[in-house]
């Protein structure tokens, strides 16, 4: 069953994705198909199962809380589409 247009619009908005009208229509059908297909997971009894969040059980390593890198604005800003002095530039947010 296709996902309803309002839901697709809502998640596109949440994902900050601008979609054309024809993309929206196609995605209603495709996402509906995928969601119907993953419904088969409801056959599995998971009432006693803890969720798996990572592939390998491990304790996170600790390290010294020291500055080990940084201080090179030119390298960091090297890929910036637009900059002003040592800052990233964006359209005006506050009038």
């Amino acid at each position: 069953m296709p996902l309803d247009p309002a839901t697709v619009r809502r998640i596109a908005r949440l994902a900050r994705l601008r979609l054309e009208e024809k993309e929206l229509e196609r995605l209603e059908g495709e996402l509906g198909t995928i969601l119907a297909w993953v419904e088969q997971l409801n056959e599995v009894d998971v009432s006693e199962v803890a969720p798996m969040t990572g592939a390998v059980a491990m304790a996170l390593k600790m390290r010294e809380d020291v500055v080990s890198d940084g201080g090179d604005a030119e390298i960091v800003l090297g890929n910036a589409p637009e900059r002003t002095a040592d800052f990233y530039a964006v359209p005006k947010v506050v009038e």
Binding site: L3, T7, V8, I11, A12, L14, A15, R16, L17, R18, L19, E20, E23, L27, E30, L31, T33, I34, L35, W37, V38, Q40, L41, N42, V44, V46, V49, A50, P51, M52, T53, G54, A55, V56, M58, L60, K61, R63, I75, V76, G78, N79, A80, P81, E82, Y88, V90, P91, V93
Partner: protein
């Protein structure tokens, strides 16, 4: 013999004996790329000047008595590994202008060991795909051709299809890939070469453009099991920059290739005998069992009861992680920017124009399953089923040393086939996804040809950190299979 036909081990020996120089070796591959890449589109970016300069440096260092495990070996790098000063696109328009100011740990490890980089290989956009057709930089052609219909343009598999095609066509001696749902093993199978996805955490993800962080596994491609062993040993190792990188010594995988399989117990999972599987794949699988038995292994049937839930679990978890990881592409600090009326408009236009159809589909799917009211029903549920899939493998490895299965349910298909319905395309990964969800090591070894003359791979899956047994069993399959078939398009052959 052409220099481009050598394996890594043989090239290393030839370089040591000064039969040829690293410069000659690099040049042979650069010429092969110039001849064939316009047709195959295996590379997005080629770096011949850097490769020749590095090769000359390797020759000079060797003459000073220095040595390293990959001294002068020309490799291809999947364009998802950040390479300092060399554009890294992840196959996406949104990263089109991105030049990383740093080197990924895996490629740094290869450079430390003397490897020469020829360039960056094509992939499905953000590694999301099984055909290398969703790249913003055009599709890659599989160098293999159907006997009956050699005109059909076949896909190399994906997402690491550029790397697999480059190694198969002898444009590089080996390559790096990443495997999130099968993106090393399936293209290795489609291109008649070998590829291994090691245990999660074996190879650092630092500097690898993220798709699904709990599933992304860097690994190597080679034209032999031994070549993969040589490459993985250099690529693997602990990295403080990746908190999921595992701090364990890296064994000598080459030595593991030479061990006997006598007495090993090999499991054959009954759930992998899916209905509608090509009879040739079934037969090849049976042949694989016989090859292992013939070398002294015991083959037993096992059960991985939650196998059929692997794909739907994957298609919840991977998009969920992707939607979170790809939130960083906002047009502000790097990559494509499309201006808009205000900041929200800039974000939406940048992402709307920067991402392709498959990536948008997965971002939306991931956003949906993580959104309020759906999280428990989809994402949490999938994480629980993932735990059951992991338990299937843990239980199986109580009784067997390794698992034997096909790599993919078909040989390479033609461009345009299987593109109507996204679920049909997802089914390509049915045999590869479970090992990614469980994080266990798995390798594809070319084992035979189908009726059309296209390669088919067999897969060996090992327990966590059991790469050595995977190499041992993989090498045994390779010896018995005697796979010597060659792709129609390859270096040294005229382009038809």
């Amino acid at each position: 013999m052409n220099l481009t036909d050598l394996g890594i081990a043989a090239a290393r020996a030839g370089l040591e004996r000064r039969d040829f120089s690293a410069r000659e070796l690099a040049l042979a591959h650069i010429e092969a790329i110039e001849a064939l890449n316009p047709r195959l589109n295996a590379f997005i970016t080629v770096t011949p000047e850097q490769a020749l300069a590095a090769a000359e440096e390797a020759d000079a260092a060797r003459s000073r008595g220095q040595s390293a495990p990959l001294f002068g070996i020309p490799l291809a790098i999947k364009d998802i590994f950040c390479t300092q000063g060399v554009r890294t696109t992840a196959g996406s328009r949104i990263l089109g202008p991105f030049v990383p100011p740093y080197e990924s740990t895996v490629t740094q490890n290869l450079l430390r060991d003397g490897a020469i980089f020829l360039g960056k290989t094509n992939l499905d956009e953000f590694a999301m795909g099984s055909s290398t057709t969703s790249s913003a930089y055009g599709s890659t052609e599989n160098p293999w051709k159907r006997r009956q219909n050699p005109e059909a343009r076949l896909v190399p598999g994906g997402s690491s299809g550029g790397s697999a095609a480059a190694v198969a066509a002898r444009l590089a001696m080996g390559a790096t890939g990443t495997d999130t749902g099968g993106s090393i093993r399936q293209p290795a199978s489609f291109c008649g070469i070998t590829g291994i996805k090691p245990t999660y955490g074996r190879c650092s993800r630092w500097g690898v453009v993220a798709f699904a962080s709990s599933l992304d596994h860097p690994g190597p491609f080679g034209r032999s099991v031994e070549d993969c062993a040589i490459l993985l040993r250099s690529m693997a190792g602990h990295d403080p920059c990746d908190s999921t990188s595992v701090d364990r010594p890296v064994p000598d995988y080459e030595a593991a290739c030479r061990r006997s399989i006598k007495g090993l117990r090999i499991g054959v999972p009954r759930e992998y005998r899916v209905s509608g599987m090509a009879s040739e794949i079934e037969e090849m699988w049976r042949a694989g069992e016989a090859w292992l038995r013939g070398q002294g292994a015991e083959v037993v049937e096992i059960s991985l009861p939650h196998t059929k839930y692997g794909l739907p679990t994957y298609y919840i978890i991977a998009p969920a992680e992707a939607s979170s990881n790809l939130a960083r592409y906002d047009g502000i600090r790097y990559g494509l920017r499309v201006d808009g009326g205000d900041l929200a408009d800039l974000y939406e236009r940048t992402r709307g124009e920067g991402f392709g159809a498959e990536v948008k589909r997965r971002i939306l799917m991931g956003t949906y399953v993580l959104s309020a009211g759906y999280y428990d029903a989809y994402y949490l549920k999938a994480q629980k089923v993932r735990a059951l899939i992991f338990k299937d493998f843990s239980d199986a490895f109580q009784n067997v040393d390794a698992i034997l299965a096909p790599t993919a349910p078909s040989a390479a298909f033609a461009e345009g086939e299987k593109t109507e319905d996204p679920v049909m395309m997802y089914l390509n990964d049915i045999f590869t996804v479970p090992a990614d969800l469980a994080g266990v090591p798995a390798m594809s070894v070319p084992a035979g040809l189908d009726a059309d003359g296209l390669p088919l791979g067999l897969q060996v899956i090992g327990p966590p950190f059991g790469e050595e047994v995977v190499f041992t069993v993989g090498a045994a399959l390779e010896r018995a299979a005697g796979f010597t078939a060659l792709p129609a398009l390859r270096a040294g052959e005229e382009v038809r």
